[in-house]
């Protein structure tokens, strides 16, 4: 593993001060499930200072707010989300999605914040290639073996897909993220939080959290009556593997009529891809097998697959049909 020094601050402000002091040489460290792999692979981009936020006492909680929504501390373990009766009651689709992340032992270690802000799993980055995210000026995925970990929806610099499931599953609930910054608390939608590859503080990353900011919690608004949601994840094995394609789908239903919907694809683009064309199409439609077929023809019209990943689009469309069929059942 790369040589590191670890800070264990006791407050968010102290953590921010340390992060500010070290710049991009430091990184927030919580579950470490993504970070330790980058350190073990000694990536150029891996930090030298870890700022352990687990000693900060108010980052690990799941609590109901006064409106009936739920706030989840960023350092809350995935297993705690998975086992939360409150979440299971209010957002069963989220709990299902969390349960499909990595493996049980990793969910014992991983945090919600870590899942949301994790680095991409492109084999070139993780293999230490000097790519955009690793100090270089090239995306190997765009020209290399891009069958699994790369975007079929185009890209800017880095073509790696956004790998997380939690973000994909949170968007249909209109969840928001809270960030502690040197200037104070910042609040963003999940879509704003992880907009895909972009340059932040000189680094290509999937999220907008700056080097001296800390994701502190996620707030989910109260579930609306009539909302039905489904999460689908296609992966080679029943555990560990990242999504080849995934779908978080929510429908605001009146009988079988769709008043409103959220259609979010994971594993096919540099961000959790909200497909508003399908959402617009589904509005006021009635659930039926034919509807699924039609929705598929509307979906992902602006796909831009790379050499090996065109099937991601077909898979994602298949998941859309699957999700609609499931919610029609």
């Amino acid at each position: 593993m790369k040589k590191v020094s670890i800070y264990k601050p006791s407050t968010v402000d102290e953590a921010i001060q340390i992060l500010t002091q070290h710049g991009t040489e430091a990184s927030v460290y919580a579950g470490g499930t993504d970070l330790l792999i980058r350190l073990k692979n000694r990536l150029e981009q891996a930090p030298s200072y870890l700022v352990d936020i687990k000693k900060i006492d108010h980052l690990r909680y799941i609590k109901e707010d006064s409106q009936g929504g739920v706030e989840i501390g960023a350092a809350t373990k995935l297993v705690e989300l998975e086992e939360s009766p409150l979440l299971r009651d209010k957002y069963p689709m989220l709990v299902e999605a969390i349960g499909k992340i990595s493996s049980p032992e990793l969910r014992n270690a991983s945090t919600l914040g870590g899942d949301l802000l994790q680095e991409v799993w492109c084999q070139y980055l993780r293999g230490g290639y000097s790519c955009w995210r690793n100090g270089g000026y090239l995306c190997y995925g765009a020209i290399g073996d891009n069958s699994y970990y790369h975007s079929a929806m185009g890209g800017r610099l880095c073509y790696a897909v956004y790998p997380g499931d939690a973000a994909t599953a949170l968007i249909p609930f209109d969840a928001r993220a809270k960030l502690a910054t040197p200037q104070g608390v910042k609040e963003l939608s999940i879509e704003q939080l992880v907009p895909g590859d972009l340059l932040v503080d000189g680094r290509i990353q999937s999220h907008v959290v700056r080097f001296n900011e800390i994701l502190t919690s996620v707030v989910i608004p109260p579930p609306k009556p009539g909302l039905r949601a489904s999460f689908e994840k296609l992966r080679p094995r029943g555990v560990w593997d990242f999504a080849m394609a995934s779908l978080a789908l929510s429908l605001q239903l009146r009988g079988k009529t769709i008043d409103d919907s959220r259609v979010v694809f994971g594993g096919i683009a540099g961000k959790p891809l909200r497909e508003t064309a399908v959402e617009a199409f589904l509005k006021d439609k009635t659930l039926s097998p034919e509807l699924a077929e039609q929705a598929m023809s509307v979906a992902l019209a602006n796909a831009a697959p790379l050499k090996y990943n065109a099937t991601k689009i077909d898979m994602a469309k298949g998941l859309l049909a699957s999700g609609l069929a499931r919610l029609n059942a």
């Binding site: 692979n41 990595s102 049980p104 070139y124 080679p236 029943g238 077929e293």
Partner: protein, 1048 residues
């Protein structure tokens, strides 16, 4: 110098602001900055492991596994992938399972850590350990410590889990041997016992159909032997004693379901099985390799000066200072490439080896070594190596391997064989079809990181090794170092699997590790990380197979042209394209009834990992093409795949010198397998399963038609085993005198307490071979249980000389030594008893250590008394050999029947169930063999569905950076329900009718799955591996073809 944006930012400190976040999103005011604590890079703390406090000093980057295993020497917890992708290293921290390789040590300070050592020891086993032993929940045992503690964590929280909960809890644990069904049963049974249930845990099989064939058969259906006491041996007409005098009658121990020998099996559950990776000394140094980033290069210079000065670094080996080997490293008569070459022929080849105080410090130094490479043009794939403008990798000899035995009339082949006139046959055929299949390469990664430990005591070297034998390693290591073999002790009792693959990765480097230990004066250990190991393991190479099939209108094949192209890396021998022993074995299943055939094998040099035995030799990569082809042919002529194979399979006929086998139940394997599977329910129309072939109501995706089931069949055959010693002492002496003879030997010691100790050199890689051998000894010595036979193994100081096992032949090679020693011991004891009882040996009987007169059982003596009378020990030795190939080889044949379910909407597929049918001979232990065969099935499934992580666009490079996320081994969530069908074919030439079947059927699986997927959804995959993306692409293409105007 590479310019790095990151370095620029380091200087800038706070970094450049390029974020797009609006001011409006700021909703709270900042607070004043507090005082900042100092970071730590080193720490000293107390760990509470299994209730005991241990102090340790470590770096901030040190993992919990490194503290437990490397600092504290609690070596029971294994580390395999080191990337949180296998679960082998799991421990409980305050009752919750974590991967200790992926938990920083500092996280666990002050918390209660439970490792396998804390669960129970040999004297006080936890139910998970004792029941796991009975249920054969560990084959190689390398994953065992991890899942056992996770299961303990589960049962502490949920004493009454259902099966799904057990699977969910253990989902994060890879068992490479796929003991999953037995693991699930172990946890369920343990839960019951821990709840206070008084159930008796008896050994029982999961799902076996056992077909006992008659003792005497004729040739009307298939192979068999005729009535009579003598069996003629192949072309040599050597007369062999039938059953070697031990017929399969009145068996007491053989055929019983018995757990593995406790002395082998129990330590796997207590963390005490001594893999090389578990060997630990307080002053151990750790070795790390610098490897080549280039597929082909020449090292111009290496500068280690900066690295040598780094903390903790003790020695650095490069081509400049590495010892010249006195004699090259040899394995099975073949020279292994020099371990630290200056000419680098593949990405991942070793360039330098650093020995340092910790792995991290060694790696720090590796990173500081500067190498100047002359990068050379390379050819990593067959396509590139066979191209007209390919670089000459053979230094003037070209890329095609030709050697002394290569056929002169086939100048473009490494090896070839033919019968009749294939061109004439093709011309005369009614129809001709051509097929090309591509196997892109596979590797059977063992869980245990390949490596070794070397330690010198004066001029005496001890090596803890990882491989398939100890004496060949000792001999070549001693020769390489120029010392006497008696100065080398090799210990290898356990492997976390080897699959044949570990030889290159571990054995090739023993001289270097030994040298490092010598020059540093410290014991040195190497455990290759999985990404580096991949380049070093023996792999199943890229193989392209082409067929031209001429056939009659009724489907019968009358001419067959078979061309094989195989990637051979930088090996100078054909290995995968060599003659009768290897290549011929891959086509004789379907050619015996074809009048005109030709089989051409072309091995090409490449800059790829090296091929070799890797969970069988050639089986999967060649049968991938054969079994797909037979299925396509059956489809083309409208025949059922079973019937089509019945039309073509080899059936033994008297006097057939090409197939000199005495039992080869090809017909039974097909018929009984089909029956057990329910093959008659197969839908004959590809894609026609589960409802109509055409979706209803014009909807392309009808829910009722979404999931489609399909059946598929593959066959396989293997050189089951040489008859290691069947032609008598004189013949043996002749074979043993040959310079390259592979000798197996054993000692059987009868002690004054009446127990018999077997001494065997062979390590155990999870097959529990010695368990079978102990059963043979028990049976031959007249015991009715196995309890009187003990085992000492895997140590050159105490076990007599033996070769290494290979080709799944242990039972007839090491078994030859064992059986003949037992035969001699039996006769010796009878003679001693006859003398003591003053009677004739023929009038005596043996039962459970008592020898008595048949007429007057009161007239008796005991084994114990006879041993006591002989100074407390009666010893007999036995020997066996591999000689006599082809005249003394038995044949195994097998079939895999697979059912899959394809999600036609997403391309997802699921392996639903399998019937795995084996020509077994007499099954010595159905329980252990079942566990082994489930492993074979899943190993081959993984090989069929996962390529070597080998980049399609940058061939020669590979990505294996995230452990088993980059190389997806099946998990407990992915296994099919499987049933073993044993065809008890009774090999007439060997003791009790035994033959080996360890790799008989493994080649059938890739084709069976491919054919089942075709049957389910109509998508034929000719390029390995079978992936969801290929299924999806095939389904999309079919839909596009069905929907005019729609693009694919």
């Amino acid at each position: 110098m590479s310019y790095s944006r990151r370095n620029f930012l380091k200087a800038a400190g706070s970094g450049v602001v390029l974020t797009v976040v609006t001011r409006e999103s700021l909703v709270a005011a900042p607070t004043a900055p507090p005082a900042v604590a100092k970071p730590f890079a080193n720490e000293k703390a107390v760990f509470i492991v299994n209730g005991k406090p241990y102090a340790a000093e470590y770096e901030a980057r040190t993992t919990l596994w490194e503290v437990i295993s490397m600092k504290l020497g609690l070596t029971g917890t294994n580390r395999s992938c080191n990337r949180a992708s296998c679960g082998a290293c799991s421990v409980l921290v305050d009752g919750t399972p974590f991967y200790s390789c992926h938990t920083l040590a500092t996280e666990a300070v002050g918390k209660k850590i439970l490792t396998i050592e804390g669960l129970g020891d040999a004297k006080n086993l936890h139910p998970l350990q004792s029941i796991g032993h009975t249920r054969v929940a560990a084959d190689c045992g390398f994953c065992t410590a991890g899942w056992v503690v996770t299961a303990k964590g589960l049962l502490d929280k949920n004493p009454n889990p259902n099966e799904d909960q057990v699977k969910a809890a253990l989902a994060g644990h890879i068992c490479r041997c796929s003991a999953y069904p037995n693991i699930i049963r172990t946890v369920m049974d343990s839960a019951a016992v821990l709840r206070g249930s008084k159930i008796q845990i008896e050994p029982e099989a999961d799902s076996i159909v056992h077909i006992k064939m008659p003792m005497l058969r004729d040739y009307s259906t298939t192979g068999g032997h005729l009535a009579g006491d003598e069996v003629v041996e192949g072309s040599n007409k050597t007369i062999t004693r039938k059953w070697q005098g031990y017929p399969p009658e009145n068996l007491k121990v053989l055929g019983q379901l018995l757990p593995p020998l406790p002395e082998v099996s129990i330590p796997r559950f207590t963390g005490k099985a001594q893999y090389a990776s578990r060997v630990w000394f307080p002053d151990l140094l750790y070795a790390k390799y610098l490897t080549s980033p280039h597929p082909r290069a020449r090292i111009q210079d290496i500068d280690t000066s900066a690295a040598e000065k780094m903390p903790g670094v003790k020695y650095i080996l490069t081509y400049k200072n590495a010892p010249k080997l006195q004699r090259p490293n040899v394995a099975r008569g073949r020279i292994l490439p020099y371990p630290l070459p200056q000419e680098l022929n593949m990405q991942g080849e070793a360039v330098a080896i650093v020995a340092a105080e910790t792995e991290d410090l060694a790696q720090d130094a590796v990173d500081a070594i500067k190498v100047q490479y002359e990068v050379l043009p390379f050819a990593a794939t067959l396509k590139d190596s066979m191209a007209k403008d390919a670089p000459d990798l053979g230094r003037g000899k070209g890329n095609l391997i030709r050697h002394a035995d290569s056929p002169k009339d086939f100048p473009q082949a490494t090896w070839a064989d033919q019968r009749g006139d294939v061109e004439k046959g093709l011309a005369e055929a009614d129809l001709v079809k051509e097929f090309t299949y591509h196997f892109t390469g596979g590797v059977s990664v063992p869980m245990q990181p390949s490596g070794s430990v070397a330690k010198w005591d004066g001029d005496r070297l001890t090596v803890w090794s990882m491989g398939q034998g100890i004496y060949p390693v000792r001999a070549t290591l001693a020769a390489a170092l120029g010392i006497d073999p008696s100065k080398v002790r090799v210990i290898n009792k356990y492997n976390g699997s080897t699959f044949g693959a570990a030889r290159m990765a571990a054995e090739r480097f023993y001289p270097m590790i030994a040298h490092l230990a010598k020059v540093t004066g410290r014991p040195v250990k190497v455990m290759l990380p999985k990404d580096q190991e991949l380049a070093q393991l023996q792999i199943k190479p890229e193989t392209i197979t082409k067929f031209r099939v001429g056939y009659k209108k009724d489907g019968r094949i009358v001419a067959l042209d078979h061309e094989v192209y195989v990637s051979i890396a930088d090996l100078d021998f054909g290995v995968h394209a060599d003659g009768p022993g290897n290549a011929a074995n891959q086509f004789e299943l379907y050619t015996s009834q074809v009048p005109n055939w030709r089989s051409t094998w072309c091995a090409y040099r490449t800059n790829a990992p090296r091929p070799g035995a890797s969970r069988s030799h050639l089986q999967q990569e060649t049968k991938w093409s054969w079994e797909n082809m037979m299925d396509e042919m059956a489809d083309a002529v409208g025949m059922d795949p079973v019937e089509y194979r019945m039309m073509h399979i080899t059936r033994l006929t008297p006097g057939d010198t090409r197939h000199p086998y005495e039992s080869m139940p090809t017909v039974e394997v097909l018929q009984e397998g089909a029956k057990a599977f329910g093959w008659d329910k197969r839908n004959p129309i590809a894609g026609g399963g589960n409802g109509s072939a055409q979706p209803a109501r014009g909807v392309v995706r009808d829910s009722n038609d979404r999931f489609k089931r399909g059946f598929g069949l593959g066959m396989s055959q293997h050189h089951g085993g040489n008859m290691g010693y069947h032609e008598g002492e004189e013949a043996f002496a002749k074979l043993a005198a040959a310079p390259d003879a592979n000798i197996f030997s054993t000692e059987l010691d009868l002690a004054a307490d009446g127990t018999v100790t077997m001494k065997i050199a062979l390590p155990d890689s999870g097959s529990n071979a010695a368990t079978a051998l102990a059963a043979l000894v028990s049976e031959m010595l007249g015991f009715t249980t196995r309890d009187h036979v003990r085992l000492i193994w895997g140590d050159s100081d105490i076990a007599p000389v033996s070769d290494e096992w290979f080709g799944g032949r242990t039972i007839t090679l090491q078994g030859a030594a064992i059986c003949f020693a037992a035969d001699k011991l039996r006769k010796d004891l009878l003679a001693r008893a006859a003398s003591a009882l003053k009677t004739d040996a023929t009038k005596l009987q043996i039962r459970d250590g008592v020898i008595s007169a048949i007429e007057d059982p009161k007239k008796s003596t005991t084994f114990a008394a006879l041993a006591k009378a002989n100074n407390g020990l009666i010893r007999q030795t036995g020997r066996g050999t591999t000689g006599g190939e082809r005249t003394a080889t038995n044949k195994g044949v097998g079939a895999c029947f697979a059912e899959v379910e394809v999600d036609t909407w997403t391309g997802n597929w699921r392996f639903v169930r399998a019937v795995y049918t084996h020509d077994t001979g007499l099954v010595i232990n159905p329980l252990v063999s079942e566990a082994d065969m489930v492993g074979s099935l899943m190993e081959s499934t993984q090989l069929a569905t996962d390529a070597i992580p080998w980049d399609r666009e940058f061939p020669g490079t590979r990505h294996y950076s995230v452990g088993y996320l980059s190389y997806r081994l099946p998990t407990i969530m992915d296994i099919p329900k499987s049933t073993q069908v044993y065809i008890d074919s009774l090999e007439p030439r060997w003791f009790y009718g035994v033959k080996s079947f360890s790799e008989t059927t493994i080649g059938a699986v890739p084709g069976a799955i491919s054919n089942a997927i075709y049957n389910a959804c109509g998508v034929r995959i000719r390029e390995h591996p079978i992936t969801r993306e290929k299924i999806m692409a095939g389904l999309s293409a079919k839909r596009a073809a069905k929907t005019p105007g729609r693009q694919a």
